[in-house]
């Protein structure tokens, strides 16, 4: 095997193996179990294929590997890791390829967050919360004085929006998930008195089955569905704005613990909604009108029960009013 060779030029595979995370590259026998577990191919990019990427590396197809969407789109959710019969930490291998690609001057094709320095206070919260360690603080001179700002490495950012929600000043944003763009979607047409109005925030990944996604679209006007990349993007302020505007309830749907597409978004959202509900309870206005549900890979069809259950609860709430 090549990694026992001491002579000859260093191959692409040698370089990948030499970096921690890349060492198990050649254990892959291309069974494709990883591909069947991965949501990216199904939901985002048909060309996405970890099995093929690993094969490219072994075959020395450096340029193709660096350009491959697989190199850039993997979000390290690690659903494939426990499924791999060879126990390869596939996202770590992909991470090494990504690192080499960045070193070679390739850039991420993903839509990533940017920082508005006029708004950024340099508090460092985005740095602390990012699942990928994409932001960091920099100091630079502004009008003769040193000031501190956040800077996001666009090659590392996956665009989940966890930092966008955590940033108190709205200084971090990415197209499609800025505060203004999400708030603009929070509206439900007026309904007859007994019909509850519900806003459902649903993460782009928790609904594995296409049927579940289309089911959400089939609800009548009183159910508004807002798609977000990750429930880590949820901001309790938005839920309050919805309730203030006369909407009866807010349902947030994310991934099951351990299955979050962006590693920690579902925990973040769980904490935020829990804190919000504690505060609503302290104010004596909670009544279960804000709910967070975590939908697992095996929970096909569950979204219907969750939405219907919420509507039932809100109908009872309205009757009690």
């Amino acid at each position: 095997m090549s990694h026992t060779q001491t002579e000859g030029p260093e191959t692409f595979a040698d370089r990948v193996r030499a970096i921690p995370g890349g060492e198990h590259l050649e254990m892959c026998y291309s069974c494709g179990t990883c591909v069947s577990k991965c949501m990216i191919q199904q939901k985002l990019e048909p060309e996405y294929n970890p099995r093929r990427l690993l094969r490219m590396v072994m075959m020395g197809m450096e340029e193709e590997a660096f350009k491959s969407p697989t190199t850039w789109l993997c979000s390290e959710c690690d659903l494939c890791y426990p499924a791999c019969p060879q126990e390869i930490h596939i996202s770590a291998v992909i991470g090494v390829v990504r690192q080499l690609a960045i070193e070679a001057g390739y850039t991420s094709p993903l839509e990533t967050v940017t920082v508005d320095e006029d708004k950024c206070s340099g508090c460092g919260i985005c740095v602390m919360v990012c699942p990928y360690e994409a932001p960091h603080l920099i100091e630079k001179e502004v009008d003769g004085e040193m000031d501190r700002f956040s800077e996001v490495d666009a090659n590392i950012c996956r665009g989940c929006g966890t930092c966008v929600a955590a940033c108190p000043l709205g200084a971090v944003a990415r197209p499609g998930v800025s505060n203004a763009e999400i708030v603009a979607q929070i509206k439900v047409k007026r309904q007859p008195k007994d019909v509850p109005r519900l806003v459902t925030f649903v993460c782009d990944w928790c609904l594995r089955a296409d049927d579940d996604v289309s089911l959400l679209e089939s609800y009548p006007d009183n159910v508004r569905v807002i798609h977000i990349p990750c429930t880590g993007r949820i901001d309790p302020e938005m839920a309050l704005m919805a309730l203030r505007s006369g909407i009866d309830g807010v349902l947030v749907c994310g991934c099951a613990p351990g299955e979050c597409h962006y590693k920690r978004g579902t925990y973040v959202s769980s904490c935020k909604i829990s804190l919000l509900n504690t505060m609503l309870g302290q104010m004596n206005v909670g009544d279960g009108r804000v709910r967070f549900v975590q939908i697992g890979t095996q929970d096909r069809g569950r979204i219907r029960n969750e939405v219907d259950g919420m509507l039932e609860h809100l109908t009872a709430y309205k009757e009690a009013q």
Binding site: S121, I125, M128, D235, P236, E237, P257, L276, M279
Partner: protein, 328 residues
């Protein structure tokens, strides 16, 4: 005050008033010290009941718009504070909501966790007291006594901010507003350099974190237990959040000069939300929730339980002004 009228050019008239507040805002004005005497040569103080002997009739006797600027501190708790707010609004060209209570409800605004009935029940009935005879005696707006009828102000169900009661021109935050900011604002107003109506004056646009020099958190530096300030020995050079202590700095407008943070105590949020933040408490929880470090759902609840009284933390000075308050 009367002497001023003899001068060729009338001096601008200034008023101060306190509604539901502790008096700290007045102390902050008095802290101007010798500069207050300097100011009193430039302006006529026509109403300042905390410091000098004035009657409400003195204000009623003024023409509408006769007062150049009124600095109104305190929240609107009862019919008296509401009446004086309306009166001073009519008599003033510029009305400044002065201090947290007037600006966002302040500490009195925390009463909005309850309503009038439960507050009265606690205060006049169930609270421990040495006077058992008067237990259960509730105040009434009108009471007949042998000399006739006496009237006291009506206590409202909720505490309101000044802007929820009358039209306000400027907002000056702080519990209390710091003395240097008061001096700056006073001079700006007297020079006629009026900012746009509705502006927050005597404060910055960004948050306390922008001016705080403590070392900020690094990548993935998250919190697995929240502690209250008295439970931990705090490093004075490091961000409170990274030490697991909730600081309202990230959601609080800068301008105070960081007296609490310099004293090694976390920010409590008295300068109110910065531009772009609508609900200070919810926004704080959006940051705090994301800082919690765990991938174990049971542990997660344990960590959340270490946050004692999230609403009290997030809305300490701003409950009356919050979206949360509007839901009740």
């Amino acid at each position: 005050m009367a002497k001023a009228k003899s001068k060729a050019k009338a001096k601008p008239k200034i008023a101060f008033y306190w509604a539901a507040s502790c008096g700290g805002c007045e102390i902050s004005v008095v802290e101007l010290g010798l500069r207050l005497i300097q100011a009193s040569e430039l302006v006529d103080i026509v109403f300042w009941p905390c410091i000098m002997d004035f009657k409400y009739s003195d204000v009623e006797a003024l023409k509408d718009g006769e007062i150049t600027a009124t600095f109104f501190n305190g929240a609107i708790r009862n019919s008296e504070s509401e009446h004086i707010a309306n009166l001073l609004r009519a008599k003033s060209q510029v009305l400044v909501a002065f201090g947290s209570c007037s600006h966002t409800g302040g500490i009195p605004g925390l009463a909005n966790f309850y309503d009038k009935a439960s507050i009265f029940e606690r205060v006049y009935d169930t609270a421990p007291s040495v006077d058992e005879d008067s237990r259960g005696t509730y105040p009434k707006v009108r009471t007949k006594v042998s000399e006739g009828e006496i009237e006291i102000p009506k206590f409202y169900d909720k505490v309101k901010t000044l802007a929820q009661t009358v039209d306000v021109d400027y907002f000056m935050p702080g519990c209390p507003p710091v003395v240097e900011q008061i001096w700056t604002v006073l001079n700006v107003l007297l020079a006629g350099q009026l900012p746009a109506k509705g502006a927050v004056v005597g404060a910055d646009a960004k948050t306390n974190c922008d001016v705080c020099t403590r070392e900020k958190g690094g990548s993935s530096q998250r919190v697995s237990e929240w502690k209250r300030p008295h439970e931990v020995e705090l490093d004075p050079d490091v961000c409170f959040l990274t030490q697991g202590v909730i600081c309202c700095g990230p959601v609080t407008r800068a301008g105070c000069g960081l007296p609490c943070i310099s004293g090694n105590m976390p920010c409590r949020g008295c300068y109110g939300p910065p531009d772009g933040v609508v609900d200070q408490g919810a926004k704080l929880m959006s940051a705090i929730g994301a800082l919690i470090d765990t991938d174990d759902p049971e542990k997660l609840q344990e960590i959340l339980n270490t946050i004692v009284d999230p609403a009290g933390l997030g809305y300490r000075f701003g409950l009356a002004n919050s979206i949360m308050n509007q839901l009740k």
